[in-house]
């Protein structure tokens, strides 16, 4: 529900946004995040972690009512920072805004899980970290074909769907995919071969 005691802040007041300190912080945080994205730099990640951790914990305690939950929120948020750093786009906003989005989303999903029996993660659809369009441009070249393949794809066993999606829709190399799924490259190759031949069969040579 809407908190009625909530006061509306003016949309255009930025407070002390442009103090020197803030500008320096902004730049430093950005350097660290980019180092994580481009070089998987663990040292830079540790710096980001140390800067954000006390703040995330403070937020977690006040929103999730226990320090155990706050710890979980911290782990969740920083795991996403580590895994999603390559989605960060400095033109779209500051690192703080980006991390806030991740933290607020994780907290929202945790709260819902605590309050209902439901398991869906809704937050990334409500506050997308990556815009739908970017995702589509990057992932799909031929939308129609893709739609059709997807329909046939759903007829395959899950393990085979996974390799097709990884290689053809997410453009991962077979090595990357093997690493991600935690299976040998050989298994990826054989699953892919099997999946493709089944798919061809089902699509009647349209692939």
């Amino acid at each position: 529900m809407i908190n009625s005691s909530h006061t509306v802040q003016g949309l255009d007041t930025h407070g002390n946004a442009n103090t020197m300190k803030d500008a320096q912080n902004t730049q430093q945080l950005q350097q660290w995040l980019i180092a994580v994205a481009n070089d998987r730099d663990k040292r830079a990640f540790a710096q980001l972690f140390s800067w954000f951790a006390p703040k995330i914990l403070r937020y977690g305690v006040s929103h999730l009512n226990s320090s155990a939950n706050a710890q979980e929120l911290l782990q969740d948020t920083m795991t996403n920072v580590w895994k999603k750093a390559h989605y960060f786009n400095a033109d779209k906003g500051a690192v703080t805004t980006w991390v806030y989005t991740i933290m607020r989303n994780a907290s929202f999903d945790m709260l819902r899980k605590m309050q209902t029996q439901r398991e869906e993660m809704l937050s990334d659809d409500i506050w997308p970290l990556v815009e739908a369009q970017t995702a589509q441009e990057g992932e799909y070249t031929d939308h129609l074909m893709q739609k059709e393949i997807k329909r046939y794809l759903s007829l395959l066993p899950d393990a085979q769907q996974q390799v097709i999606k990884g290689v053809y829709f997410q453009h991962l190399s077979q090595e990357e995919l093997a690493k991600q799924l935690g299976i040998p490259v050989g298994t990826v190759k054989s699953r892919l071969r099997l999946a493709l031949s089944k798919l061809k069969q089902k699509m009647g040579g349209k692939l």
Binding site: M1, I2, H6, V8, Q9, G15, A17, K21, Q24, N25, R40, K42, F45, A46, Q47, F49, S50, W51, A53, P54, K55, Y59, Q75, M78, T79, K83, K84, H86, Y87, G93, A94, T96, T97, V99, Y100, T101, R104, S107, F108, Q115, T116, Q117, R118, E120, M121, L122, D125, I126, W127, P128, V130, A132, A135, G138, E139, Y140, K150, Q170, L172, Q180
Partner: protein, 225 residues
Amino acid sequence: MITHHPSDELLTAFTQGELTASLSIAVAAHNELCPVCQEKVEKLNAQHAQMLFDTDNETIDDAGNDIQESELNWMSMIDDITDDDSQSVLVPIDTKSVQLSYDNVQLPRALSNVSLKKWSKLGDVSRARLELEEEPIRSSLLDISPGGVVPLHTHKGFELTLLLDGSFEDDMGSYHAGDFIWLDKSHSHSPRTTDGCLCYAVLDDAMEFKEGFSKLFNPIGSYLY
């Protein structure tokens, strides 16, 4: 043209994650269609992030001193996280489309992972509830067929209607896709549509029908809730 938007207060609560899932979805779905509110939310987001993360005015150097203290506690969490070197990949977004009385319509991204209950039909209105478990707040998709009318009613609590597709009119005006219409006790209305429309509705109590004749429709009041 969208002429009805969420209030600034609602947008603020939205960015701070303070709204229920049903209302968050409503605002998000509106923003998918409304660049004006989308931009407001981006600003509010940045502001709130800055408030949370920058207010204690510590510089990076101050934070650097903190590291030594807490580094020991956090070291294992950091190692834990960075041990897994895989990066997240974009999973295609599966937006749903629904077959309505008048057309096939694609649902907003905000609804793509929400489960819908079965459609059921009463008069001109078909309803599918969302499985969000937020009683007493309920949210539904309402498919109003061409020429359809919802009898004049008022609300015991609030009624939020987000028009997702098509258009409808009521005693106060006409509405188009994207319009975000917030009504409470002080309003009564009787929406009608010429060509059919799809609404996303959030209510926190049953509707109350005003006219004597419409009392007949009282079942529809609890049905639409």
